[in-house]
Amino acid sequence: MDLQTTLRDDMLIVSAMEDRIDAAIAIQFKDRMRALVQHPAPRVVLDLSRVRFLDSSGLGAVVAVMKLLGPARRLELACLTPTVQKVFRLTRMDSVFTIHAALPEGLRDAG
């Protein structure tokens, strides 16, 4: 599970470099994220622009990461592809997460 991080002001951006977050990789994703979010950045943004597919196990792992952040921080999501967006919309998880259509200005090239 390849996750790349970029630090920008108060924001830790984690870019998932895989095209799938599914049952085969969900536990690994959660474990890697657990280590990365030890960083004290007040905001954590998960860049899903390369993730073409996410199943319910992947969705559960993203929810678990949100819980790992504790009460003071929330997990924000960015750049959902159509099928990933569909899973979040149908399960109403799009109302639980702050979802950005794009990474904030300049971030895409910052790393």
Binding site: D22, D55, T91
Partner: protein, 156 residues
Amino acid sequence: MQARPTRSAQDAARRLHLVIPAEAGSVRRALQAAGDTVLLRGLSEDARGTAEIVIAEALNNIVEHAYAGGAGEIELSLRRGGDKLSVLITDRGQPMPGSSLPDGPLPQADAVNLPEGGFGWFLIRCLSQDLRYCRAKGRNHLFFRLDVTSDQKQSA
């Protein structure tokens, strides 16, 4: 590219049959392979995404519950007929508890209690039609249909 598709090419555009080891990595590879076939490439992006979600959830359930992590095989058959994709999935794992499919309600989220699981059957029920299950001759049979549209409208 072919001016006159052969019978087998026409068949490939309508049918797909895969036998998959009941293991998460194999399910992933099977879904990727299926997504590359003439049959699924012929669907719109939206329909292909829906098919991948529903089939993935059904296969994952078999790996996690019917075989419960043990070894086994899953057979996946897809058949396109017009605007419907028929899907039949069979396995030799444990039967569904109570011989019926879970209701799959949407797990409720509130401020302090976010669900991490239970979305699988909800998604299957949300996106499929004519969902049926039976146990016959030591096999689970799960059948459903999906509404599909083609990638491009025929101009002629």
